[in-house]
Symmetry: C2
Subunit: 451 residues, 2 copies
């Protein structure tokens, strides 16, 4: 066990101020075997507190490295959602071995959480919520809360269910309970409001949207028959959002999402996460060389045209990257839906034309200035070259804006995350087409003179 | 007033289920004058509920368009943080006029919130928290909470202060209070823990980090003397994070952050938000044309070199964009600090070399294959050209990774948000240098043969 952990553990024992998060983080930096050794040095309640923290990376692998009885005891005491996440991380064998060592009711509860993908509401939910029958009074409810408080993730939202069928019929906050008359029926506190709820297969973005929109501390997850399955709490949503933000930022930059902090990621992992995309983009970008080979004759006759290739290509990539980032966010926030693609296209087409025209005017001005001021001689046909560059910019920026805005829709339609459309991906897509647009325009404008 | 709003308002009256958020959103889509007209049709408590929602865009401008007495009454009843945000949106005159119409204590409270920048903990905080003296018992505290509950943003975190000086000495959750013995002193529930707190000038990222790390529902904001100034609640942090995520995603794509949803943004605004960056990048990218003009002689003698320019430039841009996105996130999450720049450089240098070597090998293989299989004839010196392309890729990918990773540090050092380093910005930075690296390597390898 390395120095970092032993000192963290020493601190944990010595000082109640040492937060579980710090111990969790230190243990998460170790190999699973070393983390398991660290866990067995801790008293059970502290081990559970550390395992319950999202900072404990690969907690499931550490649990799998412990003796099965000890691991099962820890899993039983962990919060249900973290226990399910840890089980999901293990190999199928380890998971089966541990599930078999749990009591039937715990196994069943965890099994229900394991049914849903990690980034769905069902995958984020916990089963440790407070529910009372609709016949309860305020004082019944408060008494119930006091009795079960220790085993619940949150007690600030209380769910009112029908005694038969467990259908959700209302929610009430602890805030309202503590200020209410103890003799009142708990149902009257809901003022007849239909509770906000979410389906287990809804996305984490949707859970975040509901929690934000209705200022909730937790949103109940219900099945098609409106039966309570669990709750998604605001702190899990916050963690999920920050994690998603990191993943998306990295993917938009063209990197596979890192599982650990930058400086904790091993060199080989770092290369692996980056080389894949870099090679894929490189191979696609090779089409630019093929496109240029195709126009080799034109290139030799009008070498001046090559001077503007980087400028024109990058403008297409930039406008595409702008459009893509706008649409990815609009889709994630639910501001734009798949069926709105044509409304977006109808905005991006004129936007691309205007932006292309602005750049085109700047480009023509640049060539004219350089020619007239004698900075560079583009030859007798300089005006036609300026026209080619200007028109090329209009065409390429328009194509970039359109392609960049449609790509996230296409990805979503095909069942991928629209956020997989990275800036380098868009740039590559636009580069090859951009070259073809540029040379085609050149052929039209310059044929008979330079070409 | 348009149809959208009148129907929203009608619903609001007719049905208690109509959420304030929907009304707020409908009003936020209107011009300030129309939104003010909508507000005056609502009963005061509904108007306040709508104004309190972050979905109400430009709420401050709508308030400024109301008669001053009516606006002052609404401001007084709004939550303090939203009221301060609304005041911050107004012109200086409107703000002064409205502040003058408020009672001295409300004016002073709002004035304290206006002192801090919008994206700092001070700018996000509210003054409506529950505080009790350290001499209180549990039942005193519960009685106090019941008395003031309506005027507080959250009652789930209770702050224990010294009666003299208002120094924060402890926090206790409502959860703990309702399960405790009523006769117990509230201080004993803190178990001697030093409360987590934040300075008013700390960033919203830092507030989010603390709330996530310690699973808080609110973090207290204290001054240098540890006196309570306010609290930042988890729902404000969630809103701020989602907003920041959108802003950053748009900026990384090279767009100025939009203030409104994509489809609600006017065409002219959309062009303005995109044209600025696009032109700035275009002007910088013009340096590529200048660099190519400088190497014109070499270009004419070895036209084959131009075939690989897009390929090589884009690889530099892609590796730079990867490194930038990784470092921006690591800085935002506090995983890397400004002083770690050299540790990052020491990782990116070898990473860039390895990634460049991988692409270099692929590039050399491509040229060799095409030459040997007869797809294209790169001339007698094809092997030297392949060597130039391969070495160029190593140089450019290394430079891209280094420059891309150092740029966010440089921006932070200069006082900018490191997230202003957009993918197009990095690509442009790397493009010009990439061309110079490529041609310099070509001069060394090909001089005496092609050049």
């Amino acid at each position: 066990m390395n120095k970092l952990v032993s000192s963290a553990l020493a601190l944990f024992h010595a000082d109640a101020q040492m937060r579980a998060a710090d111990v969790a983080e230190a243990l998460g930096r170790l190999s699973p075997v070393a983390a398991a050794a660290g866990l067995s040095k801790l008293p059970p309640d502290k081990a559970v507190a550390a395992l319950d923290r999202p900072e404990f990376a690969d907690a499931g692998l550490a649990l799998a490295a412990l003796p099965v009885d000890r691991a099962a005891a820890l899993l039983r005491d962990m919060s249900a959602d973290r226990a399910a996440d840890s089980l999901a991380e293990m190999s199928d064998e380890d998971r089966a071995r541990l599930l078999a060592a749990l009591s039937p009711d715990v196994r069943e509860a965890l099994g229900r959480l394991l049914d849903w993908p990690e980034d769905s509401a069902g995958g984020m939910m916990t089963t440790e919520y407070v529910a009372v029958p609709c016949t309860a009074t305020v004082s019944d409810t408060l008494r119930h809360i006091r009795a079960i408080e220790r085993t619940r993730e949150t007690i600030y939202s209380i769910y009112i269910i029908e005694p038969q069928g467990e259908t959700l019929i209302g929610t009430v906050s602890l805030r309202r309970l503590v200020t209410a008359d103890p003799a009142e029926a708990v149902m009257t506190l809901t003022r007849g409001r239909v509770p906000v709820s979410i389906a287990p297969d809804a996305s984490r973005d949707e859970a975040a949207r509901l929690i934000r929109r209705h200022d909730l501390l937790a949103v109940p997850v219900v099945d098609a028959q409106n039966r309570m399955l669990g709750i998604v709490t605001v702190d899990d949503v916050l963690d999920a959002i920050v994690e998603a933000q990191t993943e998306r930022a990295q993917r938009f930059g063209g990197v596979e999402a890192l599982d650990r902090p930058y400086l904790d990621t091993g060199f080989a992992t770092m290369i692996k996460k980056r080389a894949g995309w870099l090679c894929a983009l490189f191979l696609s970008e090779m089409l630019t060389a093929s496109a240029m080979q195709h126009f080799e004759g034109e290139l030799e006759r009008a070498i001046t045209l090559t001077l503007f290739i980087p400028l024109i290509m990058s403008s297409g990539g930039n406008s595409g990257s702008q459009a893509t980032s706008l649409i990815i966010r609009a889709l994630a926030l639910g501001q734009v839906r798949l069926r709105d693609w044509w409304r977006v296209a109808l905005r991006e087409l004129p936007a691309g034309l205007v932006l292309g025209a602005i750049l085109g005017v700047v480009g023509v001005a640049r060539i004219t200035l350089w020619q007239q001021l004698g900075f560079y001689d583009y030859g007798v046909h300089w005006a036609l070259i300026a026209l080619t560059v200007g028109s090329g910019l209009v065409g390429i920026v328009t194509f970039g804006s359109l392609a960049g805005s449609m790509l996230p829709f296409l990805l979503q339609r095909l069942g991928f995350d629209p956020a997989s459309a990275s800036a380098p991906f868009v740039a590559t897509l636009v580069d090859v087409t951009g070259l073809i647009i540029y040379f085609s325009i050149a052929l039209v404008i310059l044929s008979g003179t330079l070409l």
